[in-house]
Amino acid sequence: MTTTEPTSGAVGGWRRPTPTELWAGATVLVIAVLLIAPGWIAPLDPYRLDVSQRFRPPGAGHLFGTDDAGRDIFSRVVYGARNSIGAALIVVTVAAVFGVVYGAAAAWSGGILDRILMRVVDLFLAFPYLVFAMAVAASLGRGLTAALVALTVLWWPSYARMVRGQVISLLRDRHVRAARTLGASGPQILRWHVVPHTYDAVLVRYTLDLGQALVALTGLSFLGLGAQPPTPEWGLMIADAKQYALTAWWAAVLPGAVVFLTALNFMSLGDRMRRAGGTR
């Protein structure tokens, strides 16, 4: 069934963005550059080996120093964003989209189907993620893909549960009752009047989860269940650096600090969005 949306006579007018919006905008911009054009920021090739430059401490030539193969750590961190933040984005995005659809469908169907669908959610939520990640790695082979799959499969249920609760309460809302009297179909009601109302909360959770997914992904890579050498990936870089952590502390500490600060940025941004009642 084709459902063209009624045209909204959009109200124009620009207003000054709130600090939260500026912060979110800056975050999006930095990530976009890191993912699309890391070469603009990274001074060197992240794969280039140069034994003469081994274990250089942070300084003018090498902002974050170099590792045991003489690779520029700063460049590796910049290129590693694709594998770390990029992977977290994929995990949370896929989980959120699937979870929203699943939760909305469960809430809409109601009754026995809803109960079955939510039992499945409970099952996934109860699964220990490390065990699951090892099982996936065992069957798919170690690599970033296995880590991505494992995390995504375990991540969507929290969205499904949250959205289901919201949809159930929205379906009782007066504007939904009114839409029913107009003859709107189930899919129309969900698409126009219910799901968009969950976006604010989903966006907050999405932002918070980016930080958590980043930590989880780098953790898996650190344990050898994620990205494999020589891929520049933050968790893997820390794992590699731990062998010579006493001689070249920077090789472990600086990528670790980047993971920490990135995760902190997402989480405090998400927290601020929640307190602001979501960004409009």
Partner: protein, 334 residues
């Protein structure tokens, strides 16, 4: 009226809700009709079941028993499939139109929505029709671009009416559509409903708790108490010669412009439980007899198109009801 097929007919409707351990008989054996182009007022206090009747007519709830006919056809048949034919013919105006519109969509979007759902118009024709509808309810078409919370209560109510009129319905179900408005806005919306009846011949089931407002609009009036019809008949007759003590209480409780105590006097509704047997109004009724506490009165004809569900309806005459309003001694107000 008898020789015309009613537009809407409610026959012995019953609806019971289960709330935890309690069951609430929201609607108990309600029957009445709405003729083409006729405004039928449905009055009663909260909990009288009048809003449940609206939900049943709008197909938002299904009756436990009894039937609803629209144009002679039963409601389940009309709502089968997409039910769009019935949905287009019977539209609703709610008490709070701001809440009835989606807060994330513009007013114009909301008014266009029924036209899109029913594939009546799109593109430029859709925009033109929205502007036309806004003008029909005396609103500036520029309001289409605003959000519901950006307009006044009166404007929202007009927009809600424009949305309900979009599909040119034969029947409007107006559930407390003017109750939450300031008096000057309320008067404007009442006038708009009268204009709609006159201009488009739209029939209305107008639900309200204010007897004077409903009397002003309605051709006929149905008074509900505790889920059942207490009295129904021509609006003027019900108000000037009520044949049920509850209607009389409603009349005496209406805001008066006579300084001094209310003729109704304090009528303590001690305890809120309804009696399990007999007339549900018996505990509040000044005319109650022993029979009233045991026998559940059925509606009886008391005049042309006028019926009352009171055992003593025959004794309630014009002479007895009217003076009560004025016979009370005047006390100086504080």
């Amino acid at each position: 009226m008898a020789d015309v097929t009613p537009l809407l007919e409610l026959r012995n409707l019953r609806k019971t809700f289960i709330a935890g351990a309690r069951t609430v008989q929201a609607v108990r054996d309600v029957s009445f009709t709405v003729g083409p182009g006729e405004i039928v007022g449905l009055v009663g206090e909260s909990g009288s079941g009048k809003s449940t009747v609206a939900d049943l007519v709008l197909g938002l709830e299904r009756p436990d028993s009894g039937e609803i006919f629209y144009g002679g056809r039963p409601l389940p048949e009309l709502l089968a499939g997409s039910g769009r034919g019935y949905r287009a013919a019977v539209q609703a105006v709610f008490q709070d139109s701001v809440q009835a519109m989606d807060g994330r969509k513009t007013v114009g979007w909301s008014i266009a929505e029924p036209l899109v759902i029913h594939k009546v118009a799109r593109g430029a024709a859709l925009r033109a029709r929205v502007a036309e509808l806004l003008r029909a309810v005396h609103l500036d078409p520029a309001l289409a671009g605003r959000y519901p919370h950006q307009i006044s209560g009166g404007q929202a109510q007009r927009a809600g009416i424009a949305r309900a009129l979009a599909l040119k319905p034969a029947l409007l179900v107006c559930d407390e559509a003017v109750s939450a408005l300031d008096v000057s806005v309320q008067a404007q919306i009442v006038n708009l409903f009268l204009e709609i009846q006159e201009r488009y011949g739209t029939a209305m089931l107008f639900i309200g708790h204010s007897l004077p407002v409903v009397r002003h609009l309605a051709d006929r009036m149905v008074v509900m108490y505790a889920g059942a019809v207490a009295e129904q008949g021509p609006a003027e007759q019900v108000c000037s010669a009520p044949r049920h003590p509850y209607t009389r209480l409603l009349i005496d409780s209406a805001p008066s412009f006579e300084p001094g105590p209310s003729p109704a006097g304090p009528r303590r509704t001690r305890g809120e439980g309804l009696p399990a047997a007999g007339c549900r109004f018996a505990p509040r009724c000044p005319l109650v007899t022993d029979t009233c506490r045991t026998a559940d009165p059925a509606p009886r004809e008391v005049g042309a198109g006028h019926s009352s569900a009171c055992l003593r309806a025959g004794e309630l005459t014009v002479a007895e009801t009217r003076p009560s309003r004025f016979s009370t001694e005047k006390r100086r107000p504080g």
